[in-house]
Each structure stands twice: as structure tokens, then as C-alpha cells.
């Protein structure tokens, strides 16, 4: 039975190289500790990575992409001025995870690697064309987030790999983005639907690019490329385009019944929620 607290990326990576398949990797603990307390997982060897300082940072990287260390907390991300400017939907999503305590403990890397179908950070990251960087003793690789998340609680991370950073495309000029989280209370909800929309416009107000990403309506969060295509070329308040996008999104979704809500609820809300998200993106663009 061991518990090792890694203080550097290097230390974590070398531990994972030695015995990655035995180790339980612990970041914020908001998922892993719950599972452990419920006796759903039994590990005797723990690797605590939450204290790796060099992975807790937010920068603008080369090529103007926003780079966030995997162990940056939801709380820090939600309050960061760079994120507020360049990835406001991500800031919103981080501020909706649980409550203050959850946001202090939890990390962006933990949220993504735990890969709950309802992970709040996944939709805005997908809408920002995010990539994940993984490091191991074999080297480092970077892949699109959409390829990293494979299914319910399943990712492409190998047992000897450590997720070190997420990189996103910043919100361009003449664009707006939102994250809308569906749940009956104002906090502490596991998203019943988590919808991120990013719309980019030209000078005439025509949509030149769109991202529609959704969580909690399939085993993994995903982008609805059909919905995105329906919006490209549309103008403000183009009812037909919005309806087509909504229909495409609803067709792509496969929600289930669970203890939190029935599938029929998740399904029926998608269309009006998408319309609301689109309207908010438009308004945001006008304001900026």
C-alpha cells in the first residue's frame, strides 16, 4: 500500500512508467474519492498529482492558442481574465461545477480524464477545438479532445501517460460563445444537458463557422457537425436554420433515463435550449 505525492511532471511520469497500470491517479478527488468511499474501486497504490505546481497555469501559447495546465482548478479558470476574454464558455462551465468546494479541488485535467458523459468542461472545450497533451517516458503526444474521449469514462490515455495541458482556440473577433447547463437547482447539479455553442460571424453578420457541442445526451460529449453545418451561412434570427440545427442536434442525441431525469426531458429541451444558446451568442457578438 503506497501513496506518493508527485511534485513535478517528471516525477509523475517516471512513476507512471514504472507501474502505471497499478496506480490510482488522484487529482482533485471529486470523482475518485467518491468512488473509493463507495468501495467501487480498490487500489492499494496511489499517485497524487494535485500538487504539481508547474501544471497549474494559464497562458497564451504560440499561435495565440490558450494553454491551460491540466491541474489548474475550476475555480482558478472561472476567475481568470485570459479565460474570460478568450474562452468565456469555459469560464462559465467551470463556475457551474458543483459548488465552491468542488471548484477548488477539481481540475480541468481531472474532469476530462474522468470522462463522465456529463463532464461540464468537455462541451466548451470541444467547441474551442481543444487538444490534449499527454506525456510519458516515451515522449509526448497531442491529440484533439474529440479523439481523446472514447466513451463513458473511457479515454485514450495509456496507463503510463499523464495529461499535462489542454490547448484551445481562443474566441475570435466577431464571435460569441456560451455554455448552458440544464438542471433544476442553481448549483451542485450534474448537468442534465450541457450545451456549448460558439458562433463566428463575418462583417455582414453571416455565420462563417459554428461549433455545437453537447454533453449528457450520449455516452460521451460530442460535436454535432450536422447542427453546425445547418448554421453556417445563416444570418441572425434565421428561424429555418435554427430549426434545422436543432433537429440535427436532437437526431444526434441518445439520452437515457436515470435517477436525475428521464430521457424524454433531455430530448425535448435540446431544441429550445439550442435556440437560446444561438440567441445569446448573437447578443454577445453584438455587444463586443
Amino acid at each position: 500500500m503506497t501513496f506518493l505525492t508527485a511534485r513535478s511532471t517528471e516525477q509523475a511520469v517516471s512513476e507512471l512508467a514504472l507501474r502505471g497500470d497499478e496506480l490510482l491517479v488522484l487529482a482533485g478527488g471529486t470523482d475518485v474519492m467518491v468512488q473509493y468511499q463507495r468501495r467501487e474501486i480498490q487500489h492499494s497504490s496511489w499517485l497524487q498529482i494535485r500538487r504539481i505546481k508547474e501544471l497549474q497555469r494559464i497562458d497564451i501559447a504560440t499561435g495565440d492558442r490558450l494553454n491551460i495546465g491540466a491541474l489548474t482548478s475550476h475555480r482558478v479558470i472561472s476567475l481568470d481574465p485570459l479565460v474570460a476574454r478568450w474562452a468565456p464558455a469555459l469560464a462559465t462551465a467551470c463556475s457551474t461545477v458543483g459548488g465552491w468546494q468542488t471548484q477548488e479541488a477539481g481540475t480541468i485535467g481531472g474532469n476530462i480524464c474522468n470522462a463522465s458523459p456529463a463532464a461540464d468542461l468537455a462541451p466548451p472545450l470541444l467547441a474551442a477545438d481543444a487538444t490534449v497533451t499527454l506525456m510519458s517516458s516515451r515522449g509526448s503526444r497531442t491529440m484533439p479532445l474529440s479523439e481523446f474521449i472514447l466513451g463513458r469514462r473511457s479515454t485514450a490515455r495509456q496507463p503510463d501517460e499523464l495529461a499535462t495541458a489542454l490547448e484551445l482556440k481562443p474566441l475570435p473577433d466577431r464571435a460569441g460563445e456560451v455554455y448552458l447547463k440544464l438542471g433544476p437547482r442553481r448549483a451542485m447539479e450534474v448537468a442534465l444537458v450541457g450545451l456549448a455553442v460558439r458562433l463566428m460571424f463575418d462583417d455582414d453578420g453571416v455565420v462563417i463557422d459554428a461549433r455545437v457541442a453537447v454533453g449528457s445526451v450520449a455516452p460521451a460529449p460530442f460535436r454535432s457537425q450536422e447542427a453546425e453545418r445547418a448554421l453556417i451561412g445563416s444570418r441572425f434570427n434565421d428561424v429555418a436554420a435554427i430549426e434545422a440545427a436543432a433537429a440535427a442536434l436532437t437526431a444526434d442525441a441518445a439520452p437515457i433515463d436515470d435517477a436525475r431525469a428521464p430521457a424524454v426531458y433531455r430530448r425535448r429541451v435540446l431544441s429550445p435550449l439550442l435556440a437560446r444558446a444561438i440567441a445569446q451568442c448573437q447578443n454577445q457578438t453584438i455587444r463586443n
Binding site: 459548488g99 440544464l182 433544476p184 437547482r185 442553481r186 448549483a187 451542485m188 450534474v190 435517477a259 436525475r260 431525469a261 428521464p262 424524454v264 426531458y265 425535448r268 429541451v269 429550445p272 435550449l273 435556440a275 437560446r276
Partner: protein, 769 residues
């Protein structure tokens, strides 16, 4: 100096805010063992084999007990139907089959996993209509062998039935201008106290010592003694601070397991429930089906009514046979109705036994009555406020039990108070057809409610330092009734500051009977006992002082903690000196009084199976809710909430407000968020606080509380019970508000977002026709 009417801080506030208050979960006894209960994982079945030998053999395990090592007789509050352990058949998911005592909780849990339990699953009875139907499979095939505690009318899966069938009901329906028919379905509500159930038990010198956070120590003593087959004086219950109860910690629960293990092992045994275990086995507020039919005239006056209620008892009757009687009191709510037939049945199902939660079934009975009234208003085309004011109860009106409400006109006053701060606007327009706008609605609901009349005893002793010790088994599960109200009453009697009155925690060995923290009774009943003992103690103090001053007792007064002679300011004898003089002469000074409220009269022939027969010391309540409904999500926001409540006399305004705000918050949870779905397998689908949603700080409005004070001559300084009733009309007010907002009658609780969207759609379709 007057302590009454001041928002004096509660005496246990400092220890609680510093984390120094000891709850049962904090108790440690040297050498104590840890108990974990082994529970069934299915809701119904035949037990084939139970083998605990491997569990017993695990190192660190001191004992494992089953039905073979425990008394096998059944006990209960109304029907003796609950065993300590299941032995031949399973009646609900989570039913105890064994209990382990081990050195650590982790070892005890591991031992439970080693228990071999073989059973044959049977289809559980879950649906209420199916369970009550002719020829339904019996939840308890041997129900006829269960003896009765109270004369319940029972048969098959019916644990208790109240039936009232006066003359005139059918003729009212024959003459009616309209017959309005409604059916309401309501789900369970879990008390969700923050401190999970816990107990520390010891068996010392032939007696059981139970340390526990419990609302009713004296009842627990009797119930535990009955379950263990011993005299009640062989059980001592010591109460600790209670981390919330709300009715869930009012009856026998996990105590027998710790007690039996303490006897078998010779060690102290501590049992603390895990949250899921606590949730799925808690005696929650029952789910129910309410069917109500009213014969009304053209103005909406109720000429006659038929009310049929099915209450889900779960696998044990608990208190539900008594709760059937509440249907008789609530059948008209705050309004006059004609002859009414009432049938309320408590039904056995293969689910966790239900029990008391603040307001008991008043919360859904008033939901039904008030929703139904809004429906009647819609049918006859009368404004919702006008129909209420036209039919409201008045002084001298009778409940269906024959009890007269002498002061029901307070209801009218309460409506008037609400009107002052929220003038009613008659509205005629249907909801907006714009499907993205916010919908707004207003709902009104009113109710009378009772004050529990179980007796209580208090002793006041004059301490050496001139302070007063208030000794009673009264406790509060947070309300502050003891640490504020009773303390203030005692301080008032001796013109002391509240800091000079000390209170106790319960101990059944040293205190007199108290009827428990329930039904808002403590301030009223025990406050009166405090008042009566204060009168006696003051007399004894005056006797000592009169000899000392050589004056007549009629010339004495108590001012600022000293006895004085009227008109002679220089003559002052501080109470500390009175105590010392008394010590040398007559012995220490103390006095005890008991108060048992007189019960109002009623007509015993009003119904069969009528077990809870009076509605003592009624109070009156009017609530108004404003809501906003998001048409996209179905989410509901309560934007304004007003309570007009009759309190008799507000002993501690901050305490009163805290009870109202807290009760309304629980009511909002009941109305909107807290849902327990029970599957066909009899199991709860919501099993943690992640899916059983409790109201959070950002969700809840500030309640505007308008207090009416008509002092009750029976209550201490006029006080009436305050803490329970504010939850009763909340779901009704919110249900009425949402229905108003969406233009469709809501008929179930909780009102979840999907239900709201269904109602919006149904309302729209209806108006298109």
C-alpha cells in the same frame, strides 16, 4: 427587564458555532465497538438460508446477531408489526437481517460482506391501488397474528382505515351545479437531517444505557424496552444535541441492534448510518394518492365532498393509522364545506416503512384541497381569491370531527395581512403564447394546523449563585424552543437575564416525562409547565424572604434577580442569598410542574377508525407564492414568498422567523426538488444527496413573515406552537402559482421541470381547441 419578545441568542449557539457541541456521532466511549447492520438488497422474498459463520470468524469481529439471537416478537406504534430482524420473509429493501459488532467500522463492513444470505425473490407490492385491491397479494401473510396497540380498523393490506360517512353527501351531489373531480399523486419526502442516525449503546449492571440524538427520549425508552422485552426502567436514554430530526428521529429505529450487541459483547457499541442507508430506510413522509370530488353550486360553494386517500405505510404501519385521521381535519382545509365523506387508508407495500415528517400528511392534503379549489374556481369562473374569502372558516365553525374552532376568524385577518403587502390583482388573461418568455404566476393557500398536546414536565431549581436551573427532557431538533423560548420564559418569571438560566439535555433517569420535540408543542406545553413551576418556586422564595424581612409575602416582588419589598427600595435580597438562607433552614428550593393541555371536545361518532381525535390549540396560516417559470427548461424560481401566521405571542422573533424560513424552504424542496421514484422492484431510485436534491442557498427566496398575535390563554404568555405549520401550505401555494403561470392544473408532487413542460404543452393544446 423583559426577556420576552426579544431575539435573545440561543444558549447553545456558541458551542455549535465553535464545533464544540457534541452530537451522538461525536461520542466516544472507551473500548467501544462499531456496528454495521446487514440489510436486504431486494424488496420482497422468501428467506431460505442465512449463514453468518464466516462473518463471526473474521478477526476483529466480536459478535454477529440475527433473528436467532434477538427477540422475535413484533412491535409498533399502532400495530405490532415490525420485527427487529427479518426471519422468514423479506418485506422491504434495506430490512435488517443481521448486525455485526467489530473493532472498527471497516472490519464490520467486511464481515457483512461475508454473510451468506439466500432468498427467493418475489414480486413486491408497490402500487397503492394494486395493494388495496381485492385479492391482492398480502405484504404480511400473517397480519392477523399482529396484535394492536391502538384499535385500528384493518384488513388484508390495509393497516388502518378511517371512514366518515355523514348524511347528505349523495344528495349534495345530486343537486350540484357542477361536480369537480380531481386525483393527486404525491411522492415521498426524506427528512435529510444533516446528522445521520447514530446511537451509542451500553449494557451496564443489567440496564441498557442509550446515548442518542432523539426527538422523543421517553417514547424511545418505552419502545426500545418493548422491543427488547424488558421493563422501560431497565432502559436509560441520554440525549445529545440533535443534528436535525424533523420527525425522522421520533420513533424506534436502529437502537435495538446496538443495544443487543452491547449486551452480547459487554462493550459499548456505536452505530452510525451511512447516508444512502439512512435515506433508503428512513421513515419518510409517505407517498399518497388523493381522490377528491366536490359538488359545487354556481358560485363555487362546496355543497358536498368525497375524499379518498391512500397512504403508503410501507412495510410497517408505523404512525400511518393515526395519520388517516388527519384527513378528517383537512378535508375542507381553511374553508367551509358541506357534508363530506372521508375514507383514508394506510396501505402496506413492500417498501421502506414511512413515518412522520414535519406537517405529516397535512402537506399533501392541503395541496389537494387547495389545488382542487383553484380548479373549482376555474370551472365556475370565479376569481381564486374571491372564492376563498367567500368560503373561509369563521369563529364557531366546526371541523368534520365535531370540534369547534372558536377563533377561526383569524384566517380572515391573515388574508387581510397578506393583502396589505401583496394586493391581489384579479386576472383574466391566459398565459402568454410566446414560447420563450418567462411565465409568471401567483398562488394562495391557507390552512389551520394543530399544536401537539402531549404533556410535559419541567423542574426549576434555584442554584447557589442565584441562577435558575431549568431541568426537563424537552429537547429541540434545532428550533431553539428550549435554548431560547423556555429559557426566556424562565428568565421572565424571575426578572433575570437569559444568561442566568441554564438548561439540560434529556436524561430519562433524572427528568420527568416530556412528549418530545414534535408538533410544535415544546414552547406551548413545556413553556406552560415552566410557568407553573415558576409560580411554585416563586412562592417558596417568597416564603424564605418574608421570614427574612419579616413582612407578608404579599409585600414582596422579584426585580432584577433579587427579592424586594414593595415600596422600600433599600430592602433587597439577591436570589443567591435566598438560596443560602434556604439551605440552612428549609433545604434547597425547587419546584416541578406538569402540563397536559385540555383536549377540545369532538364527536366520537364522526368516523370509524378515528385514532387521532383532536386538533388542539389550532393556529391559522395564509401563504402566497410568486413564481417564474422558464418555458425552455421547465425550471421554476420562487421569486416571492409571504407567510401570515398566527403565533399567539412571539417569545423570540428571530427564533420564530427561523422556523418559518426553514419550514418554507423544506416545503419548496417538497414542491420542486425532492423526488423519490420507487421502481417496480420496490427500490428507491434516488439514493444519495446528488440525486435526492435538497434546496440550496441560491435557490431560496427570503420569506416575508407577517406575525399575528392573539395570545392563547393556555400558552405561556400566550404562545402557540410555531415550528411545524409553516411547511403545511407551501406545496399548495407553489402548485397553485405554477398552475396559474402555465394555465394548466398541476396534479402531482414534486413538480419537476419535465412536469412543468408537460403542463405548458397540455395547457396550450387545451386553449387551441
Amino acid at each position: 427587564m423583559s426577556a420576552l419578545g426579544s431575539s435573545a441568542a440561543r444558549s447553545d449557539g456558541p458551542v455549535k458555532v465553535r464545533g464544540q457541541a457534541r452530537y451522538t456521532v461525536d461520542v466516544e466511549v472507551s473500548g467501544m465497538l462499531h456496528c454495521v447492520i446487514a440489510r436486504t438488497t431486494v424488496a420482497a422474498g422468501r428467506i431460505i438460508r442465512l449463514d453468518v459463520s464466516k462473518a463471526r470468524a473474521l478477526p476483529g469481529v466480536h459478535a454477529v446477531i440475527t433473528a436467532l439471537e434477538a427477540p422475535t416478537h413484533r412491535t409498533g406504534l399502532a400495530v405490532n408489526d415490525q420485527p427487529i430482524f427479518a426471519s422468514t420473509y423479506i418485506s422491504y429493501e434495506g430490512e435488517p437481517i443481521a448486525a455485526v459488532a467489530a473493532d472498527t467500522k471497516a472490519i464490520a463492513r467486511r464481515a457483512v460482506e461475508l454473510i451468506e444470505f439466500e432468498f427467493e425473490e418475489t414480486i413486491p407490492m408497490v402500487d397503492l391501488d394494486e395493494s388495496v385491491a381485492e385479492g391482492a397479494r398480502l405484504v404480511h401473510p400473517d397480519w392477523q397474528t399482529f396484535s394492536l396497540v391502538a384499535p385500528c380498523e384493518r384488513y388484508d393490506n390495509v393497516a388502518g382505515e378511517v371512514f366518515a360517512d355523514p348524511q347528505g353527501v349523495d344528495s349534495a351531489f345530486a343537486q350540484a351545479a357542477h361536480v369537480v373531480v380531481d386525483e393527486y399523486q404525491v411522492g415521498r419526502q426524506y427528512q435529510a437531517y444533516l446528522e445521520p442516525k447514530a446511537v451509542v449503546a451500553e449494557y451496564v449492571s443489567g440496564r441498557y444505557l442509550i446515548q442518542i440524538s432523539h426527538q422523543y427520549p421517553f417514547s424511545l425508552r418505552n419502545r426500545l424496552a418493548a422491543a427488547l422485552g424488558v421493563r422501560s426502567s431497565d432502559v436509560r436514554v441520554i440525549g445529545h444535541h440533535i443534528g436535525g430530526g424533523f420527525g425522522g428521529k421520533l420513533d424506534l429505529g436502529i437502537e435495538p441492534y446496538a443495544a443487543l450487541l452491547a449486551k452480547v459483547t459487554g462493550r459499548a457499541v456505536k452505530l452510525v448510518q451511512e447516508r444512502t442507508e439512512d435515506l433508503i430506510t428512513c421513515p419518510s413522509r409517505e407517498n399518497a394518492i388523493i381522490r377528491i370530488r366536490s359538488a359545487v353550486d354556481v358560485d363555487g360553494k362546496v355543497l358536498g365532498r368525497d375524499l379518498d386517500v391512500l397512504l403508503d405505510s410501507g412495510a410497517a404501519a408505523g404512525d400511518t393509522p393515526y395519520l388517516c385521521s388527519i384527513a378528517l381535519f383537512m378535508a375542507g382545509g381553511a374553508y367551509r364545506i358541506g357534508p363530506t365523506r372521508v375514507r383514508a387508508r394506510a396501505i402496506y407495500t413492500n417498501t421502506a416503512p414511512t413515518g412522520a415528517f414535519r406537517g405529516v400528511n397535512g402537506t399533501y392534503l392541503i395541496f389537494a384541497v387547495e389545488r382542487h379549489l383553484d380548479h373549482i374556481a376555474e370551472v365556475v369562473g370565479v376569481d381564486r381569491m374571491a372564492i376563498r374569502l367567500a368560503n373561509i372558516l369563521n369563529d364557531g365553525d366546526k371541523l368534520l370531527s365535531g370540534q369547534t374552532l372558536d377563533d377561526a376568524s383569524i384566517l380572515g385577518e391573515a388574508f387581510a395581512e397578506v393583502e396589505k403587502v401583496a394586493p391581489w390583482v384579479m386576472e383574466t388573461r391566459p398565459p402568454s403564447t410566446d414560447s420563450t418568455s418567462v411565465l409568471r404566476g401567483i398562488g394562495i393557500a391557507a390552512t389551520p394546523w394543530l399544536t401537539n398536546s402531549m404533556p410535559g414536565e419541567a423542574t426549576l431549581r434555584l442554584a447557589d449563585d442565584g441562577t435558575i436551573c431549568l431541568i426537563s427532557a424537552a429537547n429541540d431538533n434545532g428550533s431553539g424552543a428550549v435554548t431560547m423560548g423556555l429559557r426566556q420564559i424562565a428568565a421572565e418569571e424571575f426578572d433575570l437575564s437569559v444568561e442566568d438560566v441554564t438548561t439540560t439535555l434529556p436524561d430519562t433517569d433524572t427528568q420527568g416525562f416530556d412528549g418530545g420535540s414534535q408538533g410544535s408543542r415544546t414552547t406551548h406545553v413545556v413553556g406552560r409547565a415552566v410557568h407553573e413551576s415558576a409560580i411554585k418556586l416563586r412562592q417558596k422564595i417568597f416564603d424564605v424572604a418574608s421570614k427574612h424581612f419579616e413582612v407578608d409575602v404579599t409585600d414582596l416582588e422579584i426585580v432584577a434577580g433579587a427579592v424586594g419589598v414593595l415600596g422600600v427600595p433599600s430592602l433587597r435580597l439577591p436570589l443567591a442569598e435566598v438560596a443560602m438562607i434556604a439551605r440552612r433552614t428549609v433545604g434547597s428550593l425547587g419546584a416541578t410542574a406538569s402540563y397536559a393541555p385540555a383536549l377540545p371536545s369532538y364527536d366520537p361518532s364522526c368516523a370509524t377508525g378515528f385514532l387521532f381525535t383532536t386538533f388542539p390549540n389550532p393556529t391559522y396560516h395564509v401563504h402566497l407564492a410568486e413564481v417564474e417559470v422558464d418555458q425552455v427548461t421547465g425550471n421554476v424560481s420562487v421569486t416571492r414568498y409571504i407567510v401570515a401566521q398566527e403565533v399567539g405571542k412571539a417569545i423570540n422573533p428571530a427564533g420564530v422567523y427561523g422556523q418559518i424560513q426553514g419550514a418554507v424552504t423544506q416545503g419548496i424542496g417538497y414542491a420542486l426538488y425532492e423526488g423519490i421514484d420507487i421502481g417496480n422492484d420496490g427500490r428507491y431510485q434516488q439514493r444519495t444527496l446528488a440525486s435526492y436534491r435538497l434546496p440550496l442557498a441560491p435557490d431560496i427566496p427570503r420569506v416575508e413573515a407577517l406575525l399575528l398575535e392573539h395570545p392563547n390563554p393556555n400558552g405561556p404568555f400566550g404562545a402557540k406552537g410555531v415550528a411545524e405549520p409553516p411547511i403545511v401550505p407551501v406545496a399548495a401555494a407553489i402548485g397553485n402559482a405554477i398552475s396559474n403561470a402555465v394555465g394548466y392544473q398541476i396534479t402531482s408532487l414534486p413538480i419537476r421541470p419535465n412536469d412543468v413542460l408537460d403542463a405548458i404543452e397540455a395547457g396550450r393544446k387545451m386553449r387551441q381547441k
